[in-house]
Symmetry: C4
Subunit: 239 residues, 4 copies
């Protein structure tokens, strides 16, 4: 099953890349849908992302139970991943992080909209999950299937959902794209904050531009688009 091995390597690398780019610190987690079993996903045991190795990856079912590998402590918020995979067949990778600069957009009603073309995943809209408005929730954490479902309801068909006072969740067709989306969501948030200092009308990305870009990405070959970034990121974490 070489495809699975490659995916697990990618998942481990994703953890390290996200740590190096300060999208995650000691908290946050990344997962992939199992390539052969759509109702299973792969995610590390409950350790800091920068420390994850291949033998820390566990296989979980959509109720958040470990179904293979040694019994080890798992992330309290694994229901984020489980419920996304249950509701969104188009998604094969999920990242939950405390991406710093999305916080301001989660604790106010200022919309996080894209101003750079690499953040086109924000174009369809970026909803905010506010745990205080979720009856099933007792705190900001998504620590149950019910709160997982509430988060996924908020995410709807989008790529990114902010979580008030907490961070965000990013979904994508594959883990490399998910990492790119997480990194450029953070960068777009930072640049948008800076742009506001200019106190002038802002020209956001145009839906038409985004559509063309996405089509272009589908046509990318090796070392183009996200692949070019991925090879650089692998170099960075190997250094």
């Amino acid at each position: 099953m070489p495809e699975l091995q490659q995916l697990i390597e990618d998942l481990v690398a994703a953890n390290h890349i996200l740590y190096r780019h300060e999208i995650v610190d000691g908290y946050g987690h990344a997962s992939i849908r199992h390539p052969g079993k759509p109702d299973r996903f792969l995610i590390a045991a409950a350790i800091a992302p920068g420390r994850v190795r291949a033998d820390d990856i566990l296989e979980l079912d959509l109720d958040g139970n470990i179904v293979s590998g040694t019994k080890r402590p798992v992330y309290l918020e694994r229901f984020i991943h489980a419920e996304v995979y249950r509701a969104r067949p188009d998604v094969n990778a999920v990242i939950h992080s405390h991406s710093p600069t999305v916080i301001p957009f989660g604790v106010t009603d200022f919309p996080l909209r894209p101003i750079i073309n690499q953040a086109s995943c924000l174009q369809s809209g970026v909803p905010v999950y506010n745990s205080r408005l979720v009856p099933e929730s007792t705190n900001v954490l998504v620590d149950s299937p019910a709160t997982g479902r509430a988060l996924v309801a908020k995410l709807a068909e989008h790529s990114v959902v902010l979580m008030r006072g907490h961070g965000n969740t990013v979904v994508a067709p594959d883990i490399r794209d998910a990492v790119a989306r997480a990194i450029y969501t953070e960068r777009n948030a930072k640049l948008l904050l800076q742009t506001l200092a200019l106190n002038r009308p802002i020209e956001y990305l145009d839906p038409a531009e985004v559509e063309t870009k996405n089509t272009g990405r589908q046509q990318s070959g090796p070392n183009l688009g996200v692949e070019r970034l991925w090879q650089m990121w692998l170099d960075e974490i190997a250094a």
Copy 2:
């Protein structure tokens, strides 16, 4: 006395972690209450935190005198630690730092309130110690038992007290938690400053959410909560 050895190792590591995360620079200091003698505390001799080693740790009494180890220069502001330990039996670790982004909140009357769940230690309130209003004080430094007591009176039952034009003091039940509080106080300050650029109403952390979270932390096992961060921080300073 293996517990003491472990605590001293933790204290040395805390110094290095705080330096690496730029909470302290050449100034600032961390201490722990002596595990066997509640009226003694352990703190480094007067050297920069990033350079502290186990044999730099001295034992002081609550008047700020060295009671064991070689006679060496001690921190001028050791009274911060002494007076906290005298007044707060619940506290076993104290960090005084020049944490950069708390400065703006100490020189204005804008309250530092939590917007991220890791900064729940700020929920009860963050008072500001203004040396100018303290009769016993001749400068911003807490360099006497009297100014130490004035600082502790301001701290009251809280976890963090800001010091105008100077930095802050963070207290906790143990040194690992104190480091987490210091790091996330800085991060929360930075994110709150950025949030203000959006010029919209801010939804701060909710007291109910915090209470649940604190309860949750009590139930944490190895590699959960602060322990997960601590293992990562140890890796970082060893790299």
Copy 3:
């Protein structure tokens, strides 16, 4: 042909310097005009700038076709370079980047003007290329000769043109100067943004001052002006 070898070494170094200074990430590219054939330019194959080596450098004609070296994937936006070399005989080096802090000035109408003397290349004006207003354009990328010409029309006689939601393009008489211009354009943008926080009238660089400075630069010898920077940058990427 030792001159060509030196120029290719400089071009490779330029890629690494721009990466180290975070002017480029996985995207962005630098080129030089061929020293012996004015209608040819040298640019890397489509890989991340920080990974470029001498044997990745290709020779392209002004229609963007590879004319020497192995057939390899090329940058989609090579037309930026081709059309600049066609229209501007004074230019021998071009850098296209996603230089982060120029973004705010590209998505608003706030003019990017110089406030530091190292950014004197901004003095004549910094136009903004808005792909949305270019009939030949279907997205923000400059991926055709027609959009390349539109960008160059906007650049006109200036040294820097911003690209809305995308980045900028910097041109210079040689690659070392182009790197300096790219780095100090980013720094000037950052400092100008910070200056706006003061909410006071800003005294920009004076045209007369710039003219003198440029004259001075012409008289620079080894290790003066840009040469001093270049030697430092070489040390940095070798470290």
Copy 4:
């Protein structure tokens, strides 16, 4: 002459420390007054500060001429140093830098005042040198004895003078203190800018507090005050 050797070592270290703390980049320079000849000063040949070694240090007279060592290119702005040493017998060390965050305060009329106690050197006031208002000046650079004198007239009895669109000049009784002043001037500028985001009245440092602090510093022993910082900085550049 062991004192001279120690001072030259300190001067070389100062160059590296300022580079590591990003107070200087490829430009900027530090000097010390010759300990035995008050009308001479020691400064590096015209190379980037981070690359300076002991054998790059030249001895210059107060007209800016090399009086010992090999004839090598010297800094165009050596007159900053020469004229400070001529006018200020209390000064034995001078740093000219492009310290980034002082720029906003040099291009507006917003006063740079101290909000942290380590920046007490700013308490007496921070004048701004505006080359545009200096008849002898043709550009922002201080490249002649006449502009050097104009800068020093602006500096007057203070410790720091800003230079519009350019950077600042910091003076001190010795080089270690000068480095501390340069670093904390930058930090204070950064924190003051951030504080302005809170849009509330600011409580600046109090003159009385500063006086006490300065007295305290005079009484510092080894590893106290600036000495503690210096040992840490030496560790950092050795790493």
